[in-house]
Symmetry: C2
Subunit: 138 residues, 2 copies
């Protein structure tokens, strides 16, 4: 399951995607719309900005706005950014690899081999779904 962080990020991105005609959107507006703690959401939007998905404007009249095309924001990226690895095991993660302590020999581990396949197929799914697909369903 996705963490609340990632779920809230998706809601925020969706909200921002639906309000692209406005220059900026307030954290508060998104928080109220979805009953999310203002401060928690603040941290999430900050991460999304640092990762290059959002722009922001400080001061009075400021707020956040989307700086990427929704079709260029795949689910895989958002999930990885906020939740970490998409792979089911550290030993098959492309971006967060770590050996499994309980595994004596990764090369001849059947679990490892199967999980590489699962990872590749899962990635195909999540790379092919973007914020645009979410917006299309609203």
């Amino acid at each position: 399951m996705l963490s609340k962080k990632t779920k809230y990020a998706l809601h925020a991105l969706t909200y921002l995607g639906k309000h692209r005609e406005h220059k900026t959107v307030l954290i508060q507006d998104i928080a109220e719309e979805h009953n999310i703690s203002h401060k928690f959401l603040e941290n999430i939007l900050l991460e999304l900005r640092k990762a290059g998905y959002l722009g922001s404007k400080k001061g009075k009249g400021g707020g956040y706005y989307l700086i990427k095309e929704p079709k260029d924001i795949p689910l895989s990226r958002i999930i990885r950014l906020l939740d970490g690895p998409i792979a089911l095991l550290p030993c098959v993660s492309l971006n967060y690899y770590e050996p499994c302590a309980e595994c004596k020999n990764e090369v001849q581990c059947g679990i490892n081999k199967v999980m590489i396949q699962v990872r590749d197929e899962t990635l195909k799914i999540l790379e092919n779904k973007s914020l645009q697909d979410i917006l299309d369903g609203e």
Copy 2:
């Protein structure tokens, strides 16, 4: 990512699958082979037995053994049993459904719609991989 519980369960099932010629296998043997805490593994094997994957024999000379064909143990079942939902959100879980608190109207939620698709495609993957596939890779 899978929890350690599920990961250990997969190791245990694999071990039991590789030792089907023996009548029973000791918890201790599996625990030692993979450096897993004996007591933690004990709880996991108990769950697998209660769920109908393993049989056990008490007392001296006892132990655990596989009572299903490896091809009839899909990853989806093991993951669900020990880690819970495969769906990425509670609002699209087939087996553990719960509405999302922050979602005003599930029916017109684009995230919900996309996550249903992700769930279905993910399930296809995990239902088509079984313990047999793991054993084939050892």
